[in-house]
């Protein structure tokens, strides 16, 4: 029996693995609820495990793998995957925007089916990356520590200044602890408690 066909693993292992070193490496995982437009994970199923097909731009696509990088996959609606295309000018990293805080993406769950192996792997792709024209940074707030975002996991989205944010653990109630979206610079701090769901 022929043994081979390892190439089918290239995208699943190398490309997806390498992408894990992409967005938001220096910020804490947010426990702040995401809004409907950012950071939440929609899903798309039935994609194949094939390697990315190259620079597809300007025409309708249905899967992030059809774009040169996941962040270029852009849709009018991510729940129904309406009007999706590969955005040629999408930023690859926060530094591609005028400020890292302008960089915003969202999550999309993709089911990679590998029919030969009878496997279905759900992986989260960072898609819809763009530079927000209007964005806030910590320095826009009266105190940088008053800066907080709805989501910092896939770029920055829903950021605002909130003068009521706790500044130290001493402001949290007994049983709570101070959790921050970023420690350097320090912002997005809020009191968290352990809940059993």
């Amino acid at each position: 029996m022929f043994v081979g066909g390892s190439a089918r693993w290239y995208h699943t292992l190398v490309v997806v693995g390498a992408s894990l070193s992409g967005c938001a490496a220096k910020v804490e995982r947010s426990s702040v609820p995401n809004d409907a437009n950012a950071g939440s994970a929609g899903s798309v199923g039935g994609a194949t495990g094939d390697a990315a097909t190259g620079a597809a731009t300007g025409y309708s696509v249905t899967n992030p793998k059809q774009c040169t990088f996941d962040g270029a996959f852009t849709c009018a609606d991510y729940e129904s995957l309406t009007d999706c295309h590969c955005e040629a000018n999408a930023p690859r990293a926060p530094l591609d925007c005028s400020s890292p805080f302008a960089y915003s993406c969202r999550a999309l769950n993709v089911i990679d089916s590998l029919p030969d192996a009878g496997l279905g792997l759900t992986t989260t792709h960072t898609v819809g990356c763009h530079c927000q024209p209007n964005y806030l940074t910590p320095s826009d707030c009266e105190l940088p520590t008053q800066f907080i975002c709805e989501s910092v996991e896939y770029g920055y989205s829903g950021c605002r200044c909130d003068p009521n944010l706790p500044q130290s653990a001493a402001e949290c109630r007994p049983g709570e602890w101070l959790s921050c979206q970023s420690d350097s610079p320090r912002f997005g701090c809020h009191c968290e408690c352990c809940t059993i769901k």
Partner: protein, 252 residues
């Protein structure tokens, strides 16, 4: 424990094997169980190194998960061994694994090489190997176990590729890593091919979760040529030294 796997209670394909074959396969899965436990220990060591490396939280989470994944694999492999009729082989205690030492490297490069060796290269080979075994599997028990393990191995391999793609590595670091990779390939591939010394000694029973040496050699060649080496360019490493090593590698 993240996931449970339910092996078939009855597997006629196993029952149809003669006793000698069942013993051979059972022993093979017992050895695999012990190896999985050792791998758990290595991931525990890698986790500490990746913490020092400054790996993203998502990667640390995957590495921490891998520690328990491999323990679960060990238990699963021991269960498979038992299904082949032999007594459940007790898993032996495993000495804590130490991070390998790469004397010519900075600490950061050393950590990346550890991730490259153990995760990017080894787990990529493991994924390809187990997938090939799955395609040949003739019993539901083996198929179920392999499918379960592969799904985890995919994530384990991604850890290494994530580290190699990291901006925590400078251009100078990348040059050192690129030049060291042939040695890592040699170590890893030799270990994989040496594993089959056991298989050759104990005749392979087709379709029970292992490959014969010829198939394994082909598999390793295929995985190196089509996944690992192309992947080096993707993570901004120079593939040339490894390509030169690969060109000298004996073909099947």
């Amino acid at each position: 424990m993240r996931r449970q796997v339910i092996l078939p209670v009855v597997d006629a394909a196993i029952d149809a094997l003669d006793e000698a074959s069942r013993n051979t396969v059972g022993l093979l899965w017992s050895v695999r169980a012990q190896n999985e436990l050792k791998t758990s220990s290595v991931f525990a060591s890698l986790y500490r190194e990746l913490m020092a490396f400054g790996a993203p939280l998502a990667v640390l989470e995957m590495c921490a998960q891998a520690v328990s994944d491999e323990v679960r694999h060990a238990i699963l492999c021991a269960d498979v061994a038992a299904r082949y009729g032999g007594p459940r082989a007790p898993l032996q205690a495993v000495a804590p694994a130490e991070a390998p030492s790469f004397s010519v490297c900075s600490a950061q490069v050393s950590r990346a090489l550890f991730a490259a060796l153990h995760s990017a290269i080894n787990e990529t080979l493991a994924t390809s190997y187990l997938a090939a075994c799955l395609e040949q599997a003739r019993t539901e028990t083996v198929s179920t176990a392999l499918r379960h393990i592969i799904e985890d191995e995919v994530r384990h391999a991604r850890i290494g590729w994530a580290v190699l793609a990291s901006d925590k590595l400078s251009d100078a670091d990348r040059r050192v890593i690129s030049n060291t990779l042939p040695s890592l390939m040699e170590i890893c591939v030799s270990a994989w091919l040496a594993e089959t010394a056991y298989d050759v000694e104990h005749a392979i029973v087709p379709g029970q979760g292992s490959l014969c040496q010829t198939e394994l050699h082909t598999l390793v060649e295929d995985a190196l040529g089509n996944v690992v080496i192309p992947g080096l360019s993707h993570v901004r490493l120079d593939p040339a030294p490894t390509q030169a090593w690969f060109a000298r590698w004996p073909r099947t």
